[in-house]
Amino acid sequence: MNDLDCATTKDLLPEHAAGTLEGGAAARVRAHLSGCADCRGEAELLSLLRTDVELPAGLEERVVLAVRSGATRQARRPGVRGYAMAATLAFAAVTSSLIWQSLRNGERATADSSGAVAADVNVLRSPGLSALSEEELMMLLKEIES
């Protein structure tokens, strides 16, 4: 029996594509996909996205070398963008940290407002996000993050 709806199936598709679903769940997803072109289309897209990204040659050894030399913060890859970026990275790291901390604080503060909490809880409970339009999803996101 095909007992999964589209929303639940779509939520399980990343695990299905990775092959990490347990037997019963995998069979139910497969059964749903066999009769649902929309979900099958999304499953195909996910399989296209699961392409390997190759680690650039030499990157691992460069990082290991930097670790071995103890230059954990200063070591930069020579020759590509030079050392100018290294000089600005410390500043950028602090800046991005502050920005993100500020965003997090804002999020916590937002979580205190009942409207946003309600929106977030609704999102967590709702199995049907994939059925919403792009505009509705954007509005929902704004409500959560406002």
Binding site: T72, M85, L124
Partner: protein, 180 residues
């Protein structure tokens, strides 16, 4: 007899104490995921290399601040995300990031026609993925390729689980439209 496997917690403790061997093991275990997230966010190999290296070295230097509230991998990917966004913001101010795909960098010598078609479709998907806003792109990458739950995606993106979920669905929806 092979040596007994070392738990990740023990490895992190040793790395935190300055053990270079343990730090090297962590680099070799996680650099690929770190680079992958950076590449998906930035869409540029050179920038992603910088971001990955920066994230890995900064993470090892900041191990004292890892409390184990989330998994080490999630914590590390959050640093990678921050590093990539930081580099991306600076780069965007100077110029638009070039749309470069992995596939364009490798010689295209495909024998089987089906394989070539599949590869070009994958390349197109990778290309269209770059047109999404960074958070949606990252949510898709973290969910589809890194196998993270919505709660973990939220930890990496430093947003709520609900926002992570909406970002993922928005990303997939837009991507499907772009692929049509």
């Amino acid at each position: 007899m092979s040596p007994a496997p070392v738990s990740e917690a023990a490895l992190i403790d040793r790395a935190r104490a300055g053990d270079r061997d343990a730090q090297e093991v962590l680099v070799r275990q996680h650099l690929r995921d770190v680079y992958r997230v950076a590449f998906r966010v930035l869409g540029d190999r050179d920038l992603a290399e910088d971001a990955a290296q920066d994230a890995m070295l900064n993470a090892l230097a900041a191990l004292d601040r890892f409390r184990g509230a989330s998994s080490f991998r999630t914590w590390l990917l959050r640093i990678a995300m921050n590093s990539a966004l930081s580099i991306g913001r600076r780069k965007t101010r100077r110029r638009e990031i070039a749309l470069v795909t992995e596939q364009h960098d490798t010689p295209a010598e495909e024998d089987a026609e089906n394989s070539a078609v599949a590869k070009s479709e994958a390349a197109r998907a990778a290309e269209q993925l770059k047109r999404l806003p960074p958070k949606q792109r990252a949510a898709v990458e973290l969910r589809v390729n890194q196998g993270l739950s919505y709660a973990e995606v939220g930890e990496v993106l430093q947003c709520s689980e609900g926002a992570a979920r909406v970002n993922y669905h928005l990303g997939i929806k837009r991507l499907r439209e772009l692929m049509q």
